[in-house]
Symmetry: C2
Subunit: 431 residues, 2 copies
């Protein structure tokens, strides 16, 4: 395997880095047309349309959409059917994720001014949320935890999960995760038709206020289209890790951390920055040796060859600068004083500090969310959190005295903008 | 003018209400194609493309894009050139908006578990933000305040405003508002080409991390397209007000409050709910009488006729229920105990409480933001705020002891998902 080596001393380093990071989700026009038609059909025909698409695409044979709902007792049975160790791990992860997310709960606030005017924000939760869970290989129970728990902590009253079950095959770990999180209803539907059912509501599937969760290109296109009718979470790109290491961590550990990102898919990106060139050689050697043992060797090799890089930097400060440019989804600080170093980081989805904190711990059970901004979007967005399932209403109660002062200001500005009814409305309140 | 009258006792009330609220922004495919081409061109040719489109669409005659930048001294001159009363009102509004938004600043947080594991979130501001301000009639200085101040309070280092100046005509109030808010740079460009310049960066216009601010259909389409490359704020629909009144407010006041929304544009929506049928008659009479005095009579008449309604409800509780279904952008509670009543409100952009609190005060100077979720999106979204210009990075520092416990959980779950590198990476940290 040939993995790229850069040095920040290279004259073409900036151009190389830019090219390395270049990734734009091609918006496939064909997919978009197919999705637009499915959504239109689901909006118009409801259950009937969802049932037809599901039977066709997932090769199921239901005569009513209601048959595709999974009962709570089936979810509980899935949980009880797990091997003890797996069940305990799932529950332990859920408990830690819940405990961390409870710290994110926002509260209403207000303050009263001297003249009695009250201002603030009232915080409320969304009523009903839809959670998309992919079927087949990419069906990750951890993804159910990470999406469902923040919603439940926020106080969402009804959480509706959709998961396609091609040929009727159900993933027991996913159903068990739904049981652990207290998902309220589960439908075995997927694709654009499931997104449409959640966004518009059908006779059987209730309309939700927001749709979250990962999915394939059809699901992503459907989410983009229904955005505005309902809220959506981010549309994620391929996963990435950036490791900054001072050269004093076991190179095998770092190699495996890079693999843990690369094994997700061929487009995943793993980058290592170190001021120690000899260490980069060691990690390269570890990669060559360890990849042979990996069941997902082919995916890892393609990912590291096509999109990976080992970069030699002048010093750790320069590594921080490059990291801030990259704004990585996952950032490992495998250095001596990671907490102090983290203050230099401006843009990252999650910061994993210290040699013991491998990204995998965060993916499953450390507590923070594993749904993170990808493709440099950490420059302007945040991990999924409880705050994504709460929203704010401004509170304004102007006292009679306050209206005298504010009314004049508002009227002056309203006349300046040519909005006379605004001005008159404020002036009516003047005594 | 004929304004709709409904009663919740009507057998077809639910259907009528649904139809009244029905509004979906038609996504015009022609606009979308034009915008896609402009964006592609700006991305490829930078300054040259922006200059060409600007000279063509805005009938300007610049030979370099730099000529279209407005200097800080010109902004200050605009502010100093305002009539004293207008300048004072602008400054007073800015001060109040700033003071309110400072309450929204989020801070980093973390906690340490018994075994020394640290978890939390680091909060940072966006580096650079683009603010779109429409040219021509809809150029509102208040909109500059409401978008620029939260960004500055959040700590955004560079705020770049774009505003088209067709035929070179500059709106002095808008420039003055930019001066008051400390906008860093202003370019006289607009349309999709301005959004493209901000999103991709050109030789002259720096690339930003997020684009906010209202615009026409071309601007909205461009924002949708660059979403992902940069962050965007919401894509707003027509403005709406819902007034709930117990019948004891001066009907002229309520009529004028409804006008203050209706005068924005023909698609704006004004709805009044009251349990007092006689009061609805009085308001209808006030509307007939007062509309004659309004300079924007035609817009108000069209808006109220096409999209307005006076609705008779059983009681105020039922009004709250209907309001929660509508999830209005602006909600006036013109009732006796507005603060107590506000607890029943689950979904609204802003809640204006009490007879003295007309919406116009909030539009300009009460303090809270006037950029609010429209078209029922208050079910899942919030007013623009400081939080839209800050973002979070998860902090995870697992202690050596913590890694022993978490590593086993993570490995168990990772093997369950078939991700062996994840499992191995966690297991390396086990002693």
């Amino acid at each position: 395997m040939k993995i790229r080596r850069f040095s920040t001393l290279d004259s073409d380093f900036q151009a190389n880095l830019k090219q390395l990071l270049a990734f734009e989700t091609a918006q496939d026009d064909n997919i978009d047309v197919v999705v637009a038609n499915i959504l239109k059909d689901v909006k118009r025909r409801g259950d009937e349309a969802v049932l037809e698409y599901t039977n066709r695409f997932d090769k199921t044979d239901a005569s009513q959409l209601g048959e595709l709902e999974i009962s709570q007792s089936e979810l509980v049975a899935a949980l009880e059917g797990l091997p003890a160790e797996q069940r305990a791990a799932l529950q332990a992860a859920a408990d830690r994720v819940k405990s961390y997310h409870e710290k994110q709960l926002m509260s209403s606030w207000s303050y009263t001014e001297a003249d009695g005017t009250l201002l603030g924000q009232q915080v409320t939760s969304l009523d009903r949320v839809g959670l998309y869970v992919p079927g087949g290989k990419a069906a990750y129970p951890s993804s159910v935890l990470m999406n469902a728990i923040p919603a439940k902590v926020a106080g969402v009253q009804e959480l509706i999960m959709v998961v396609p079950t091609p040929n009727g095959e159900k993933n027991q770990l996913v159903l068990a995760a739904a049981a652990v999180c207290g998902v309220d209803r589960v439908f075995c539907i997927g694709g654009a038709q499931a997104v449409g059912a959640l966004a518009y509501g059908t006779e059987t599937v209730p309309q939700v206020d927001k749709v979250v969760g990962p999915g394939n290109a059809y699901v992503a296109a459907a989410k983009r289209r229904v955005f505005g009718v309902v809220g959506i979470d981010m549309v994620a790109g391929p996963s990435e890790i950036l490791v900054i290491c001072d050269g004093k961590t076991d190179p095998d550990w770092i190699a495996m951390d890079l693999f843990s990102q690369a094994e997700h898919d061929e487009l995943a990106q793993s980058i290592l920055l170190s001021p120690d060139a000899a260490f980069l050689d060691q990690v390269a050697a570890s990669i060559q040796r360890l990849v042979e043992e990996m069941p997902r060797k082919d995916i890892i090799t393609t990912s590291l060859t096509d999109r990976g890089a080992l970069i030699h930097v002048r010093d750790l400060d320069e590594a921080a600068e490059i990291s801030n440019y990259i704004a990585p989804e996952h950032l490992e600080l495998s250095v001596e004083e990671p907490l102090a170093f983290s203050k230099k980081i401006k843009h990252a989805g999650a910061i994993f500090m210290g040699r013991d904190t491998c990204e995998a711990l965060g993916d499953y059970c450390a507590g923070p969310n594993h749904v993170l901004p990808t493709s440099r979007t950490a420059r302007f967005s945040s991990p999924l959190g409880v705050y994504d399932f709460q929203k704010r209403s401004s509170l304004i109660m102007v006292s009679s005295q306050g209206a005298q002062v504010l009314g004049k200001i508002a009227a002056t500005l309203a006349y300046g903008e040519g909005l006379q009814a605004h001005a008159r409305s404020a002036e009516y309140r003047l005594k």
